[in-house]
Subunit: 292 residues, 2 copies
């Protein structure tokens, strides 16, 4: 019989394994990119472990921040963390199952890639298991093209990204992809501007179908789908040269990405409220952004 501790252990191992494989794949791409378009030497990830401060002598977990600042990957973060302890009282009231007992456990991976070439869309991935008096999976992935012309549902990158996520979801339940794609459209948006952040993907939270094994398999499948499709989009676009006007479009859309992350992002909020590692939480912010 599987205990809750077994499940936590398995989820953590899966997130950390996924991060390792993504990092290896991204380092290969960084090494392989054309020197003509991407001068300089290929970068590697720098991994920095961090711990949450002890609370009354008790360990509260921590994580590893992985950052690469490269020639193809202008700024990419792939982070894992496993944190636990008690949520601050004002925040516990907002977290499912924590209103009476603020103790929580959370493990996850988060990733954001800002690419140098504006023809390669930026991308975000998050996957986490959270335990309070309840337990669930949450996460998502969305594609953020930085050229106006690519911000369309009928662009090949958009189509392929959605199709691959759909395949991952459909194995489990045909209702999940439409539901989680719609949620992504609603969530990854800037209501103050009446704009979408990118072209969407999937977003899910409080995912608990009653079958933990299936839910865990789903979380893993969503991660594999990302690792399968995103490198294909990188390779498709990486040899397209760019100009200053395209970099300016990229900088503008990166500004929108900043607005989303600081105004609305649940992960940013959760991290800052639970005393997470500020440097890794805010590593999602782009290297350069413009508000012309």
């Amino acid at each position: 019989m599987q205990t809750l501790e077994d499940r936590k252990h398995a989820a953590r191992a899966a997130f950390e394994g996924l991060a390792d494989r993504i990092i290896a794949t991204f380092e290969s791409l960084e090494a392989e990119a054309s020197p003509a378009l991407y001068p300089g030497s290929a970068a590697r990830f720098e991994r920095t472990p961090w711990r949450r401060p002890l609370k009354e002598g008790a360990d509260q977990g921590g994580g590893v921040m992985g950052m690469m600042r490269g020639r193809l990957f202008e700024k990419v973060g792939v982070h894992v963390s496993t944190v636990y302890g008690a949520l601050p009282a004002d925040f516990a009231a907002q977290v499912r199952g924590a209103d009476k007992d603020p103790n929580f456990w959370a493990s996850g991976i988060s990733l954001i890639a800002h690419m140098r070439n504006p023809h390669i869309p930026a991308v975000h991935l998050n996957s986490r298991m959270i335990v309070t008096s309840q337990s669930w999976f949450g996460g998502g992935s969305d594609l953020n093209p930085t050229l106006d012309a690519a911000r369309r549902d009928d662009h090949p990158d958009t189509r392929d990204f959605h199709a691959r996520l759909k395949t991952a979801c459909d194995i489990f339940d045909k209702d999940w992809h439409p539901k989680y794609r719609k949620w992504a459209d609603e969530y990854f948006s800037l209501p103050h501007r009446g704009e979408k952040r990118g072209v969407g993907g999937i977003f899910y939270d409080h995912h608990n179908s009653g079958d933990w094994d299936a839910d865990f398999a789903f979380a893993k499948a969503a991660g594999e789908a990302f690792l399968d499709v995103y490198p294909q989009l990188v390779r498709r676009n990486w040899d397209t040269p760019w100009d200053a006007a395209e970099r300016a479009q990229q900088a503008k859309w990166r500004g929108r990405y900043v607005e989303f992350n600081l105004l609305y992002d649940r992960g940013t909020m959760f991290g800052l409220k639970t005393g997470g590692n500020v440097e890794s939480i805010l590593s999602s912010l782009p290297p350069v952004a413009e508000w012309p």
Copy 2:
């Protein structure tokens, strides 16, 4: 006998008059700056009126967004607005005196100047009168040096900025400057980083001493202090040449400014929650910011 309507009218006229004089002064500085350090032609402010959408046919106010993108003033906004109507229910609960009756009236000026030369500090000014079932003044001004070396209490710019604001406050009550300077230190800070946003200034809210005429005079004096001292700081620093490393420091501190405005700024929150003009609310964001 002065009615509430008289007071609203007077406050609005004062804010609009201050904006006009600041704009005239900034345009003079922009015109006068050395062509050697600031090539290109001098810019002028562009003023764009906007209205809040009608609600059930009723006018809800609006404002004028004033923007200049120039050679000395890389990006500066000087905005006035006078808005009224009903606050959204969830927001009304957080606004003093609006928990039972969501009707409000607010008029004010807001200003942020991002200068091209990293030796000239960025600056922010806000002044507003708000009426719910209660009425008060709020506002502040703070100096945001963009070079590490200038982010000190004993830097001449910091000293002169604080001294001038102190003079403005001390006319009314010797307790106000220490109180409002301390509040600025607390408010203009990034708790998630354990950093101050700049070198402070004054911040006040719910200012109502019981003597409206004195409070109005204080709000006006704070605006005059800004208009007196900031152009002096511009002139003191504008002939100092800068290099790429100093621009990089500026871009980093501008990133912090973005974090503050999107995570904590009350005015940004108030504007976005009350359906203000998004373009003028977010015009405070710097032209370029970096998170290296």
